[in-house]
């Protein structure tokens, strides 16, 4: 495990920001950490980086306590609210941070231009950061997080302030990192971004871990299937109840009927198809519909605390 926490907890007076968090992140995965504002996401990241001291519990990052120089040597970090010294050029800024990693002059000369190219700032390295747009600053921050060829990267809202092209490019970089075997811990408000980039996702709410797993695991057990057919009579519809609850039923403009069936698992799909056809209806479509991450997220947010 690259990251492991056990009953990790952070309290600010009476406020519990993170509540007994048990988390494991394995090597090479892109791990999405989701939650509304104030859910404890940034506090968790800060505890994993040694910026914030936990009130209780244990955490280990790269097999070491959070924040130790030995661990930080292999970690990259892009903070959520990344502020830049506006008087520095991107090159000077990256050079300054590269020195803190102990990189040699030769390594810096090779690495910095390559990284600027990678984040799409190849021609702007000598411009002052104060002249950069928010999106360009975010890219420099990302380059800074990758200076040391990290084994583990924490990205806190990496696409915040980026236009659609910039967001796409950051997603591509995350994919490339995964291809290189780098583990990515991604905090993001953009659910679609998490959906397309992350191998596993954790959803937190009010400092508590609500769900964790792959997208398939998280959406399992909440499947819907949409049946479109001509000639579905009331008796046939009633017969569908053996597989689940009919939650929607409507005529379409082309004279077919669309029925939504809430069910558990996909196993019964062939039987449903055989049943509908066997009842003499003309089956046009039988479409399993998994809830999107956004739907799942909203569902979790709506859940009352246990």
């Amino acid at each position: 495990m690259l990251i492991e926490t056990a009953r990790l907890r952070k309290e600010y007076g009476e406020l519990v920001a993170v509540q007994d968090l048990d988390l494991s992140v394995t090597e090479g995965e892109v791990f999405g950490f989701l939650g509304p504002n104030g859910a404890g996401k940034t506090t968790t990241v800060k505890m994993l980086l040694g910026l914030v001291k936990p009130s209780g519990g244990l955490a280990s990052v790269l097999g070491r306590p959070p924040g130790t120089p030995e661990a930080m040597r292999r970690i990259g970090f892009l903070p959520e609210h990344f502020r830049f010294p506006p008087w520095l050029t991107a090159r000077d800024f990256l050079d300054m941070h590269a020195r803190l990693y102990g990189m040699t002059a030769e390594a810096r000369r090779e690495r910095i231009p390559a990284l600027l190219d990678r984040v799409g700032l190849g021609g702007r390295g000598r411009s002052k950061l104060g002249e950069y747009s928010k999106g360009m600053q975010q890219r420099v921050g990302l380059a800074q997080a990758l200076l040391n060829r990290p084994a583990l990267v924490f990205l806190d809202e990496p696409t915040s302030g980026l236009d659609p092209v910039g967001r796409y490019e950051v997603r591509e970089i995350i994919r490339e990192l995964r291809g290189e075997g780098v583990t990515v811990f991604l905090n993001s408000h953009y659910l679609s971004e998490v959906e397309v980039t992350c191998d596993r996702v954790a959803i937190v709410k009010g400092g508590r871990l609500m769900r964790v797993g792959t997208l398939a695991e998280l959406t399992q057990g909440a499947n819907e299937v949409e049946i479109e057919a001509r000639g579905l009579d009331g008796e046939t519809l009633a017969g569908l109840a053996r597989w689940g609850e009919v939650t929607a039923d409507a005529e379409t403009p082309v004279g077919t009927r669309k029925v939504t069936l809430q069910m558990t698992g996909d196993d019964a799909l062939p039987q449903i198809a055989a049943y509908v056809v066997g009842r003499g209806a003309q089956l046009y479509a039988l479409t399993p519909q998994r809830p999107s991450l956004e739907e799942l997220f909203m569902r979790v947010m709506a859940e009352e605390r246990a």
Binding site: G67, E70, M72, F77, L100
Partner: protein, 279 residues
């Protein structure tokens, strides 16, 4: 190694922010004004060629102490201005997060920043004092006694303010930190005057007030010892040491040792507070 790297970055940051240039140019302006004023004063005092040694020494000593006091005050102001935002501002803005998540220890960040600023401050004070004494030597052919210990005491005065400001920056915002440190300096300044007047009037209570405040904030005591060391013995012999910039009562060497220890303890406390706080 990391401490030196942070010190280097701190020094470079001052250059990038054009602080170094501002200090150099305004320091030169200070020396220009001082040398012009001193030249005309010297010309008037020595015009007749009949002036006594004491009547020449008095204005020269006054000018020397006024100039050195000006540098000491600029040193204190510089110490405060360059350090007040260095930790406090970076903590508020979040830039400190990218720094302390590099493979270094938090104490190295504090020590490195302190070292970078201390080198800058020391260079400013030493160069300014050397230039000022050089001007007096060239124009008036006068070299004060104990120049090196006096300059080191002025440096120590600046380091006290610098260290307190870094200590405050670990817990206070920039503005609050600046106000607290400057007010402490003001407290020490007025207590120093109370002690001096108490010494002239032989008033024990006034002297004790000065000593107690000096223990809390020993900056002004360093200036008074520096002024005492710079003054020629002839001035004391003629009872002329109590100029607005001079010292009629000099803090003891023990107070200098205390001030050096004070800087060390405040720096360790700053490291402790920064290391244990959430960022």
């Amino acid at each position: 190694m990391n401490v030196l790297q942070i010190a280097r970055i701190t020094f470079l940051e001052a250059r990038w922010r054009k602080i170094l240039w501002a200090v150099i140019l305004l320091g030169l302006a200070f020396l220009l004004v001082f040398s012009t004023g001193f030249y005309f004063m010297w010309r008037d005092v020595t015009r007749s060629g009949l002036a006594s040694a004491v009547s020449v020494l008095e204005p020269v000593n006054f000018f020397l102490l006024a100039g050195m006091y000006g540098i000491a005050f600029l040193g204190v102001a510089l110490a405060l201005l360059i350090s007040v935002d260095t930790l406090a501002g970076e903590i508020t803005s979040g830039t400190i997060q990218t720094l302390v998540t590099k493979p270094l220890r938090r104490w190295e960040v504090v020590a490195g920043k302190w070292l970078g600023l201390a080198v800058m401050l020391t260079a400013f004070i030493v160069l300014m004092c050397a230039a000022l004494m050089g001007i007096i030597w060239i124009i008036g052919d006068y070299v004060p006694r104990n120049p090196v210990p006096a300059v080191l005491l002025i440096v120590l005065e600046g380091l006290i303010v610098l260290t307190l400001s870094i200590l405050g920056g670990t817990r206070l915002g920039s503005l609050a930190n600046g106000v607290v440190v400057f007010m402490l300096y003001g407290l020490a300044f007025i207590a120093g005057w109370i002690e001096q007047i108490g010494a002239l009037l032989r008033n024990e209570a006034a002297i004790n007030i000065g000593i107690v405040v000096s223990l809390l904030m020993p900056s002004e005591a360093m200036w008074r010892r520096a002024a005492y060391l710079l003054q020629p013995p002839a001035m004391s012999a003629f009872g002329m040491e109590a100029t607005p910039f001079g010292a009629s009562s000099a803090p003891s060497p023990l107070m200098v040792a205390y001030a050096a220890g004070y800087v060390a303890v405040m720096l360790l406390l700053a490291i402790r507070l920064f290391t244990t706080r959430d960022l």
